[in-house]
Symmetry: C2
Subunit: 215 residues, 2 copies
């Protein structure tokens, strides 16, 4: 039931062009980890998806934990950098927050399994890499937090709101998408738009729609 995306690729012992196997191995690993969780998945499961023997995997990674680290790395890469770039733009906090939400959701499309594994399984990384990856996570949180605080300072956002809690709310909302975006039939742009509207304007009807002017 697992091998539906990657499927048993090589029928004979040698078929794929050389030097092109590593990406497939990590892709299959991400898929299996995403589906069963790190400890719930066996290296045999991964090998089954690829149609090779369990021991052959160790040509590509030195341990199961190392494989998890590879997957997690591809799950976070880019988030921090693009987030930083967006936060530094000379636009309103509203606009930047919308962009942050959108860019946070977009990797679900092409790297959904990697993101999912990062979010759910990073706790099982060996201590060292967990700390390293955790630093990036906290960095991203701080980006959101700062944009929100700037929005308050600029008079765009409600005064008195708890920027930390709002950050956790927004990230929780976005990250949850990794667990349902495959089942629900919604495009990433539609999700991003709905989430932005929710966060910026809320559900309640506005007495008079007014574009906020920065002061």
């Amino acid at each position: 039931m697992i091998g539906m995306t990657v499927a048993t690729l090589p029928t004979s012992r040698r078929s794929a062009s050389p030097r092109r196997r590593a990406p497939q191995i990590i892709e299959a690993t991400a898929m299996v980890f995403a589906e069963r969780g790190f400890h719930g998945a066996t290296t045999q499961d991964i090998a089954d998806v690829l149609g090779i023997r369990q021991a052959s995997l160790y040509y590509y990674f030195s341990s199961k934990e190392a494989a998890l680290e590879l997957v997690c790395l591809r799950g976070v890469e880019g988030f921090f950098e693009t987030g930083n770039a967006i936060a530094a733009r000379p636009e309103s906090a509203q606009k930047r927050l919308s962009l942050l939400i959108s860019s946070h959701l977009s990797p679900m499309l092409d790297r959904g399994n990697f993101v999912k594994v990062f979010l759910n399984e990073r706790q099982h990384l060996p201590a060292e890499s967990r700390r390293r990856i955790g630093r990036w996570s906290r960095g991203l949180e701080r980006i959101f937090e700062q944009v929100i605080e700037e929005g308050v300072a600029a008079g765009e956002f409600r005064a008195g709101l708890d920027a930390r809690l709002v950050t956790l709310a927004v990230l929780g909302m976005c990250n949850a998408a990794s667990s349902w975006y495959l089942k629900e039939n919604k495009g990433v742009p539609a999700i991003a738009a709905e989430f932005s509207n929710l966060v910026i304007d809320g559900l309640a009807i506005r007495p008079a729609k007014r574009r906020p002017s920065r002061r």
Copy 2:
């Protein structure tokens, strides 16, 4: 590093009053599962927390999976019922949604580990109980969805919003709390208030605060 909450309770072989051990065993189980995940946790880990032998646990549950089911059950119980009760109240959709958010967050206080295990580990339940528990989950989603749709119909909420996406957003936001509410030093009421404000009114400043009148 695990036994910090429950800690090694009985120093001698016999100490607790009889017929009172089962709640402690399931509590310890929830704690260990919450910390390491179902497959990452061993029955030995649970026994260590309780200060008993690994095999002794099987006096309380017939299998590790059965233990997971016990924990998950206590993780969901009440959610659906209280949700239904709130949705049926004769109040505005705004008020009911706020109450739903609040009641969804409150179990974090006393049953945080159970909720966390339910959210993260229910996928590892045997097929039958997973389906049964999944039904309750979907029921709760429908409650949120319906209140939101009623809010739109009543003119309280923006027309054209995607009630399904908003539901997933709100639940994702609330459920994420299970992973950080211990580290962050925020009370449940404060979280509920901030989340309600965010969902109902959004972050942006309102031109004129007006209590919505139902029509």
